[in-house]
């Protein structure tokens, strides 16, 4: 409300100027802009989506149904009835009796098919990510300790690491001769054989996605209003009851957000599965990649559509839930954080802290050890001794690399510039879509699906689509309109990042008390101004979290960057890492550490700029 008042005050100042007519025109102009700002932003968002996502992607997906110029469903039918992809389900789709299929499904040697297996490992990875993400959210949202804010900022760091870095870290940590086995042996325990198993893949997926679950859940938990809990307690509810009735309903939509996003990501997983699991555990995306590489576009597109349908179904199922379960809030005075040192040695104070201590030990092995191994690899030479050679390589490449080679500094600079610009673009896009999708109207599901699609389409297909749709361009009336280079990269990154802004901001917005908006409107504020001055401030932690994710997505992006880059001058840090991979991984890991440090610092800066939710 204060924001609205502030705006009025400025308006009065304007009117006080001598040239009343000019001021009037200005005011009217501003009011005009404000009243159409929402529509304009929505149009811009749609335009960006069409140009940098829908049209490009469609040029590829259409190949599933148009083969040699004729429309056909044959490719689809072949994929759907192929037991290799759909396991026992394919038999059902090809017309066998459901009873027979059900019998084989219950038998121990049932076939899941590649699609079934992909969903299965994604489900396992989701469970693992939630299990590892929730305690972190609890720790970050409910306890006070030195470095808490920095730690919260750094949680997203794993999210941006290229798969080869994670593979290196994991082999060094969980491999036969890895740190974990060395520790186990030192403790007199038998070594574990973790690598090239489903477990290793699931843990790696949790490494990437538990931070996501933790970050969105922390943002929601920090928004829980303390007075609601106090009211419940004063009405006689015990701490458990107050948690179940008041805190949980506000936190667990966020947990589900994290879970749904994790499922979608791990469903489309690609390089890490082969690096840590091996080809026995190949997922759908592995085949999309191979088919595109072999130019078998029809089958690749059909598989990508299958992926898209499954991922979107999961997202939409979750969105239906989110729409139903929204709770009414009017902003929050956050719950006071507790100290990590128990105030009294009672069981109730000690138990959660002991649990957290156990969790920190596990997190140390799963998150910190692989990153530490990466850092160690960057300072280890071929002979096993410590060295700074790999960093010297980076400096040398910077100084003597040819113009057409990738050099570290431009890569750092580009990464930061693209990520900052993409975040600034993704935020208004995400907020507008969040506002539009929290209203209730017919066809909202369609808008939801359209808005979330960038999360659900295979990255390989998007890359190929960008090549066709943007780099090659479209022919309009004798002109070929094309886009590439920095601007196209920023738009493409914003399109991949904005769904995160939507997903973090939307639950909070839909939970806001409508009367706040209505009274502001009644006082004469435009819709855009209500969003800016009333609604966004109330869900600010979510906006900051969304910004951090949009930034992270841009920093970690690889496929569309290399497709749209016009030369070595538009390459980013992940591209530099890929370029520096050689027979020895030192130079690449050194660049990986640079990426780690640069993004870590950026996250801290973003969250500082965003302000701490707790205010003063």
């Amino acid at each position: 409300m204060t924001g609205v008042d502030g705006g009025r005050a400025t308006g009065d100042d304007d009117r006080a100027t001598e040239d009343g007519g000019r001021a009037d025109r200005l005011t009217r102009l501003r009011e005009g802009v404000e009243s159409h700002a929402l529509t304009a932003l929505a149009l811009l968002t749609s335009a960006a989506l069409v140009v940098a996502f829908y049209y490009p992607t469609a040029t590829v997906l259409v190949e599933a149904v148009v083969v040699d110029g004729a429309v056909t469903l044959r490719v689809f039918a072949d994929v759907l009835t192929d037991p290799f992809y759909f396991g026992e389900l394919a038999r059902l789709l090809s017309g066998e009796s459901p009873a027979a299929v059900a019998r084989s499904l219950l038998s121990p040697d049932r076939r899941l098919g590649i699609v079934g297996f992909t969903a299965y490992q994604a489900a396992l990875s989701t469970v693992a990510s939630v299990a590892l993400g929730l305690p972190a959210a609890y720790l970050l949202a409910r306890f006070e300790f030195p470095g808490r804010r920095t730690l919260r900022s750094l949680t997203i760091v794993p999210f941006v690491l290229p798969s080869i870095m994670v593979a290196v870290g994991f082999v060094a940590t969980f491999g036969e001769n890895g740190t974990l086995n060395a520790a186990l042996t030192a403790l007199g325990l038998p070594p574990v054989d973790l690598l090239f198993t489903l477990e290793a893949v699931v843990i790696a997926h949790a490494f990437y996605n538990a931070p996501l679950v933790a970050r969105v859940t922390t943002a929601a938990w920090e928004s829980v209003d303390a007075s609601a809990v106090e009211t419940a307690r004063s009405l006689g509810a015990g701490p458990v009851r107050a948690f179940v009735d008041v805190v949980a309903p506000q936190v667990y939509p966020a947990v589900l957000t994290g879970a749904a996003l994790t499922f979608v990501f791990t469903f489309g997983t690609f390089p890490i599965v082969l690096a840590l699991g091996g080809f026995e555990l190949a997922t759908v995306e592995v085949f999309v990649y191979r088919l595109v590489r072999d130019l078998s576009y029809a089958e690749a597109a059909a598989l990508a559509i299958v992926e898209l349908v499954i991922s979107l179904s999961v997202l939409l199922a979750y969105l239906r839930y989110e729409a139903r379960s929204s709770t009414n809030t009017r902003g929050a005075r956050p719950l006071p954080r507790r100290s990590l040192i128990p105030p009294a040695p009672t069981l109730r104070e000690l138990l959660p802290r002991a649990g957290l201590a156990a969790y920190v030990a596990v997190a140390g092995v799963i998150f910190v050890a692989p990153i530490a191994s990466m850092i160690l690899a960057s300072v280890t030479g071929g002979d096993g001794a410590l060295t700074l050679d790999h960093y010297r390589f980076l400096i040398e490449r910077q100084q003597t690399g040819a113009a057409f080679q990738v050099r570290p500094w431009p890569a750092i600079r580009n990464s930061l510039a693209f990520a900052a610009a993409a975040t600034l673009l993704a935020l208004p896009m995400g907020v507008v879509v969040a506002v539009l999708t929290t209203r209730r109207y017919r066809g909202r599901t369609l808008v939801d699906a359209a808005a979330m699609a960038p999360l659900a389409v295979s990255g390989i297909i998007v890359g190929l689509g960008l090549l066709r749709g943007l780099v090659f361009g479209v022919e309009v009336a004798g002109w070929r309109i094309a886009a590439n280079g920095a601007v196209a990269i920023v738009v493409a990154h914003a399109v991949s990042g904005y769904p995160f802004v939507v997903r973090t901001v939307s639950p909070g917005l839909s939970g806001l008390d409508r009367s706040l908006v209505e009274s502001a409107r009644a006082l004469g504020a435009s819709r855009a101004r209500v969003i800016r001055d009333v609604e966004l401030p109330l869900v600010w932690p979510a906006v900051v979290a969304g910004a951090a994710f949009a930034f992270a997505i841009s920093i970690g992006e690889f496929t569309s960057t290399v497709v749209l880059a016009t030369g070595a001058d538009a390459y980013t840090m992940p591209v530099a890492i890929e370029r520096f991979i050689g027979r020895r991984l030192g130079p690449a890991t050194a660049m990986g550490v640079v990426l780690l440090v640069v993004t870590g610092l950026s996250f801290v800066v973003i969250e500082r700029l965003g302000g701490d939710h707790r205010g003063l």
């Binding site: 082999v171 080809f279 050689g582 027979r583 991984l585």
Partner: protein, 407 residues
Amino acid sequence: MTTDKSETRRRRARPRTRRRFLTAAGAAGAAALAGCSAERVDDGGDGGTGAGSDGGNGTDGDGDGETPTLTVATYTNFIDAPSVSPGEWLKTEFESRYNAELEWATPENEVNYYVERAASGVGVDADLYVGLTTEDLVRVDEELDEDLFAEAGDIEGRDAVKEGLRFDPFDRAVPFDTGYISLVYDGTTMEAPETFEGLLDDEHAGALIAQNPGGSATGRAFLLHTINRFGDGGVASDGDGEAVEGGDGDLEYDYLDYWADLQANGVRVLGDWDEAYAAWSEGEAPMVVSYSTDQVFADMEGQDLEKHQIRFLNDQAYANPEGMAVFADADEPDLARQFMSFMLEPDVQGEIAQRNVAFPAIDGAELPSDYAELAKEPADPVTFTYDELQGAVDAWVEAWERQFAGN
């Protein structure tokens, strides 16, 4: 539930930041819209800046002035690798010997990028491609009705190319180097078997790391080698019952049988060569499918050569000759052919071999006398011809995938 006092105070202090930030976001959006290019379709020109085409200091094409520009497309490792790559030397040397400027283009999708360009009708914006394999040619020819590449024609020095390396039956691609895919093993912990069958021994259970034939060149070469050895069992026969016969002479036992046995013995098939090599370097397994030039790098980095032993199974290795070809609609076809002659000169051949860590395509390349000590060549290189791969390689890979993954 109203906002409490401290919250209000904080908000009063902040709206400016948010407002400024929303304005900035709007500006970024406007700039994004301004970032397109438009050009007349019939302009010919050089079709805009292609992905990965690196102009250096912006001297891009159009100038019909004195110095013509030759755009050479290739894969990224050819011009940019952490250890050595021939790109920079070749550019400097070519520009000093000829009145021309050389510009590298390294699109991410490599040859497929030009297939896409041709299929989309946007014109190929490069003069020649360096780094074609037999499989690339097969794929390109299957996909496009028109010719992507022109016949090599009259190229000085082409007669010197070794007979066994000439892989293009239509004389477009001219080989400029070759490499061999073999096993690399840690001789301090094991002695690698000498035959394919030896890999199935119990003592080598879980000892080999290979790569996905669908996504990695080394992985595919190793798969092709097993097909060459054991036959394809008629997998790609199109129902005419014709099968590729293996060198083992056993018609009942084909490459899929061999891979079933290999899988039972714990072979690891990872994604890319770099993931596989990294896992091998960490000691996850003592053997890895890699290049027969491994010791050249090991020596460069002062590593223990005993840990980098090469094994040619059955004294064989799969050969991957690399070729170069002029694009059919090159702007500078004559200059492109001059470049191809340049690439075949004995001193350049020696430099390419050393900087690309491969083997020269001609006899009499100028190489240090000790090069052969570290870069190993098999007694009996094997490879499939263009005709053998055509219409077969996709089916081979797919049959393997279906057996190996089979969830």
